[in-house]
Symmetry: C2
Subunit: 368 residues, 2 copies
């Protein structure tokens, strides 16, 4: 079992030569790159915080590494730099936001902020988003709620990449879902996961290394589990985790994201990485916030979460294990180190940031 | 991959000699048995519908097979036959119910009914339950919402039986979570799953047959994956599905059930099967309902779900597969057959119902 959360690429997969930079410099660089493509200062700040916080957690697959891809879409027009997401429909306990093809982080932060405000008066709130794009790490939005003292849940649909039991090809997206639960002495519990057994990146890495993979990662072109990573992604598909469980969860996420919001569903979504950069991708997402002070003061809720975490930490360890991590703990450990000493950016992120600088026509990170 | 939902015991595990009975007779029998231990006619009806509907879905592990266990607790006093669950705290979008140690189905149905009513005015609602007991199949409550045209989510905590990455023993319950999404032409999509890779019953079955098990089902007394089913449950623990993903989901379910409601958490819960029948088990649960008519008429939502299901059904099949099932479809197929021709009760259920008749001092099922 792999105790890692938020699907970080294991260190073994990351090429050598990381570059260390401060959180502040990385944020400044991202903001400058976004501003250079026409994004407002305020929106650039919002998006940069999502990406840099994700890197600070050590979740390098979903942080600033994506910036170059977003810039390509901003330049292509598929992402509209000056779009203003709008509230389509709203009641005290819910809302639906139209992302207007803005950078995915903009309507997503707007939606979770709205869900938080509504939950603070209603106890619980749902805000759905349609016509958005890739929003980065779902965990960031869940954490926005936990930072405000609420339980947060965030999820999104995506292009089909994962098969279903009995199917031959791609049926659902890897549809991420994340939650965050605020604690007291401890950092929030926080989990961000896709419904596939592993991310496609892990399959590519095995292919590059010429290594066989476990038989629950992908299926081949005939829908049969295979240990050969070379068939993906041209044929075959990722496997949902735990078979019908991951598949079933994917359909709930699609129901709350694409279907309930009136947004695009499944094959209606475009690839933010490979798709035509002049076209919107139409991703949809859903955000839930729940007030923790329903029957007891928030401080008591936090104490109860702390006590539960303490109980888990104190439990007997497996042979060879030194700690039992609660979800998010590794990310918060990484975050602390990043805040104190800077972020060690893996080489693939550095390469991608270099590309971003080129796309934006700005100096590279090292100048910030 | 196993496309089965709601963890039914695979037919191969069920001893021979099933008995066929009508849904009406089974319901009548359950009601008589509950009434004989002092449960009101109304509560007996509610509980019988939960158990018999679950059998009609073919989910025999969580249906009337549990009746004998509930009767033992009703006779022992750990379940209070005449308890009246109360609303502890309530606002337009949420409530917390104290189960008062009533049969788990009573506060659970009350809670989901309340969540449905609140969601119909608020868009979304949360109702938590504390001081409850084993509530049967989580899917039943999710379905109550779907039957009323809403999206339903139900979950509960349970005694520790599942390990966590890095741990040596049992850390979380197998904490079930279920959802149901209403459709139009199609029956509701419906998934009911535990956060363990498999239910303990599958490990026992392998032990009985002397068969090795896959290495992701349980860990041994040292916290190491093992293929030997004989160590469980005396030592070791079930494994969470997909490692940190199942474990992480367990903690969210515990947060929304035990922690948020002020109820019992983890080791504070008693075993409804093996525990002292004179003591309450203190299970907690959480119910969410979401109106589907947030941005479009409910009929349009249903059409969108239908279209998505049609798309999945029409997708290419894996070698050897005839259909791609959406979650709940197998259960609804079984339900149709049960309604038309009766339920084929497996021998272990028949044996348990015979025990229930003895405990209640009533005639056996065949007389109903």
């Amino acid at each position: 079992m792999n105790p890692t959360t938020i699907n970080p690429a294991p260190p073994s997969e990351i090429p050598a030569a990381p570059a260390r930079c401060s959180i502040a410099a990385l944020r400044k660089f991202c903001m400058a790159a976004l501003a250079a493509t026409g994004v407002s200062q305020r929106d650039a700040e919002v998006a940069a915080d999502v990406l840099v916080t994700t890197d600070a957690w050590g979740v390098f697959t979903h942080g600033t590494k994506s910036l170059a891809g977003y810039l390509r879409r901003l330049k292509g027009g598929g992402l509209r730099a000056t779009a203003q997401p709008t509230i389509v429909s709203e009641r005290p306990g819910w809302a639906v936001v139209d992302g207007q093809s803005a950078l995915g982080m903009i309507p997503s932060v707007m939606a979770m902020d709205l869900a938080i405000a509504k939950a603070q008066t209603q106890g619980i709130a749902y805000v759905g988003v349609r016509n958005s794009c890739h929003f980065g790490a779902a965990g960031y939005y869940a954490w926005l709620a936990a930072r405000a003292g609420l339980i947060g849940i965030a999820m999104a649909n995506d292009i089909p990449s994962v098969t279903a039991p009995g199917a031959r090809g791609k049926i659902t997206g890897s549809n991420p879902i994340a939650y965050a639960v605020p604690a007291g002495r401890h950092p929030p519990m926080m989990l961000d996961m896709a419904i596939s057994t592993v991310a496609g990146g892990k399959v590519y890495a095995a292919r590059t290394l010429g290594q066989p993979i476990p038989d629950n990662w992908i299926v081949d072109g005939d829908g049969r589990p295979t240990r050969d990573p070379s068939v993906f992604p041209q044929a075959g598909a990722l496997q949902p985790f735990a078979g019908h469980k991951g598949y079933g969860l994917a359909l709930l996420i699609e129901s709350l994201s694409g279907i309930l919001t009136g947004g695009a569903v499944s094959r209606g979504i475009g690839s933010w990485m490979q798709g035509d950069p002049t076209q919107p991708t139409l991703h949809a997402a859903a955000f839930l916030a729940i007030d923790t002070a329903l029957v007891m003061p928030a401080a008591e809720f936090a104490q109860r979460v702390d006590a539960f975490i303490d109980e888990i930490h104190a439990a007997p360890k497996a042979d060879g294990a030194e700690r039992i991590f609660v979800p998010g703990e590794k990310e918060w450990d990484h975050y602390k180190r990043a805040t104190a000493a800077g972020i060690d950016l893996p080489a693939d992120v550095v390469a991608s940031l270099r590309e971003a600088a080129g796309l934006a026509g700005i100096e590279f990170l090292s100048s910030f």
